[in-house]
Symmetry: C2
Subunit: 277 residues, 2 copies
């Protein structure tokens, strides 16, 4: 049984790509979509959305991930994935779940999430962070217009409309700034407005922040924890990616997402292995 009442033809590209089918109380299958891949592996942000979509089926009064911690155990490929969920605690307005995703019985992802209802949160805001200052999207660098071999290795890029702030895109011209900072705009290429599930995908959609340090290989994520903090307003999402601690063969990457109303709607931190070479 599909988890939506819409027929497949009414689903957006993104909704179709992250669809899951319930097989029993706690087991699901998904058909991972290889078009959301980079360097031969399905993208980690896309997989966050698949995990959250699965948990929506378990948690009707708590449809949104408030916090989701995902451990990547090996690269996932396009094709069938088996997903098992375990309810750890169900409260009145939130619930915590464990999730395991395997392909061909190989563990690919293990995750924990607390689901809640973003729309029901109090509307207090005392945030001291300020949104990144960016030129308008049409003054930024369209990632989908990058070099052909880059695009060929990263079909994921075409699933989004991603625009990089020229100030932080020096790497594209061979002049990385060395600051460990990337900023830009993002929205889904299929034109649908952002929601909780696409925010998760956006958190790991941009080129790795290590590009700004002149390290150009893709960097495998070990762990990523996302906090969703508000329902995003329609329109472009601003993203800021940064890293400060590169050591011991690993680095952290922080991502902030701001909506068109100027709210900090999502934050993530990941621990990734340093690209070699």
């Amino acid at each position: 049984m599909r988890q939506t009442n819409l027929s497949e033809s009414h689903l957006s590209e993104f909704e179709s790509a992250i669809a899951v089918e319930r097989q029993s109380e706690s087991t699901f299958t998904a058909e991972l979509d290889g078009d959301w891949s980079v360097a031969g592996a399905v993208n980690g942000g896309y997989l966050l959305s698949v995990i959250a979509q699965t948990l929506r089926g378990n948690s009707s009064n708590a449809p949104d991930p408030m916090v989701l911690s995902t451990y990547y155990l090996g690269p996932s490929q396009g094709g069938r994935a088996d997903i098992t969920t375990r309810t750890i605690r169900e409260g009145r307005s939130s619930a915590t779940f464990a999730v395991d995703l395997t392909q061909d019985e190989e563990p690919k992802i293990t995750a924990l999430a607390t689901m809640g209802n973003l729309a029901a949160l109090p509307d207090d805001v005392a945030t001291t962070a300020t949104p990144p200052e960016l030129p308008e999207p049409d003054q930024c660098i369209n990632v989908a217009e990058g070099p052909g071999d880059f695009l060929k290795s990263a079909p994921l890029v075409k699933r989004y409309d991603m625009r990089l702030d020229p100030e932080t895109a020096g790497f594209a011209a061979g002049r990385p700034s060395g600051r460990g900072l990337l900023q830009g705009w993002i929205r889904l290429a299929d034109g649908t407005e952002p929601d909780a599930l696409s925010l998760l995908a956006f958190l790991d959609a941009f080129p790795p922040v290590m590009f700004d340090l002149g390290r150009f290989n893709w960097a495998p994520t070990m762990e990523l924890t996302a906090h969703l903090r508000a329902v995003p307003a329609p329109g472009w999402i601003r993203a800021k990616l940064s890293t400060r601690n590169i050591a011991g063969g690993m680095f952290e990457e922080d991502c902030e997402l701001w909506d068109s109303a100027g709210r900090l709607v999502a934050q993530s931190r990941q621990l990734a292995r340093q690209p070699r070479g």
Copy 2:
């Protein structure tokens, strides 16, 4: 069977407090120590150390948590805790585990961790972050000399030697800065040098950063993810706590720990509920 060859009398206060006993391949018990409590609940940082100590018993060639994500499901109390571990993936030099901790069959903590060997990491460092500038510890404010009712509600404070930078301790004199920043020094009160397990405890030992925003209640943590990045050098640890996104009844708290050799040895981010009143 104790997980150490030392008799109990050779254990430091901290080692005794976080000791676990193995009951079977995947089950353990701990006697949580109420002296590590704040506001009637066992401290979340102390619990991180108990979780990591448990996993050491499962993972001899990977003794250190590289990354540990902990979801707090309800307040823990001094007394017996039952801990169950599940091996998710064992690699050559790292292993990923799930952990559940219950008291009286009530779930208190669920966690994921990837264990490795910090001492075996490559020694490259390209970190752009800089350590917090602090006055010497004897020029800072000793948290253990705070008001009597504060200390009575927080026996945890006496387990550490914690010194707050006067620049960020205005809250203690009723003048919080509003920046959302606390900085200071920390070491174990029992005099033992820092290691991977005490770093975990330090990450959640300081007063909540919300104190610097004039919100003085203790704030329950929903989730905390810690990255350990190097074995700490002996001596004082510098800590920097900050928050930037206070909204929707929640806030994030970031903690950085720097060792005496100037290395960023641990980073954490937690999502916590805002104190009321």
